[in-house]
Assembly symmetry: C2
């Protein structure tokens, strides 16, 4: 669906800093949260974040979570990023599982075929309570 298959990309300083922040966060992070984190490194405007994110996403090193307006580092060493990725999000502890297997791409292919669309981008996000949180929250 996308090209990608990145072997060795040289990230710019800004891109590296944003990616590092995302990785350290280990959670979905909003653009403005990233900005605050990076102010000590000289970042001053949201655009610096958004521009870096755009690149990282194109390279498959980061993903955008549409339902959260947030971003997360790709959890695969370097996501082959067929575009066929699903995110499973715990609404309590904010843990995100990034799933990227044949069941996802098969499902998407089948959906595209049925609806006669030439697909270019997908977003699959499942919200709920993860195993741990589900056990605790017996409200």
């Amino acid at each position: 669906m996308k090209k990608s298959v990145v072997t060795k990309v040289k990230l710019t300083r800004n891109q590296s800093l944003v990616l590092d922040s995302l990785i350290k966060a280990g959670q979905p992070s909003g653009a403005y949260a990233l900005l605050d984190t990076l102010r000590p490194h000289g970042f001053k405007a949201p655009l610096q974040i958004y521009r870096a994110l755009e690149q990282l996403i194109d390279l498959g090193l980061a993903h955008r979570l549409e339902s959260l307006n947030a971003f997360i580092a790709c959890s695969h060493v370097s996501c082959e990023s067929s575009g066929a990725t699903a995110f499973v999000i715990c609404d309590k502890c904010e843990t995100v599982q990034e799933i990227c297997d044949e069941s996802i791409s098969n499902f998407l292919s089948s959906l595209a075929r049925k609806t006669k669309i030439r697909a270019s981008k997908s977003s699959i996000e499942l919200h709920g309570l993860c195993n741990g949180c589900s056990a605790v929250s017996h409200s």
Copy 2:
């Protein structure tokens, strides 16, 4: 996943107006676009739109498209809204196909099982070019 199974709900005036606008639009509409449409009917503030939308979505009469920050009327007479709905969106003509069959719910169940999540909400959105637009755009 949701309750729903709405047989006959009495919508308030605001809710009816918003739903009518959504239906007339026949396309994804942003909250502020709806507000503009409804100013002649006395709407003045975004909150009036957002509050109506919240109800309509709870009732399964409208859906939110996360990747567009937009809303659309449910295309099923009254969506049983198992929550298992997928949206296929043409980025050119903005047509949206709302798919709601077993393949969707099976896929989501399987994903929830694999990731051990107790799912409460899902969002599946596939972007691309629809059959018609795909034929034209031979750039």
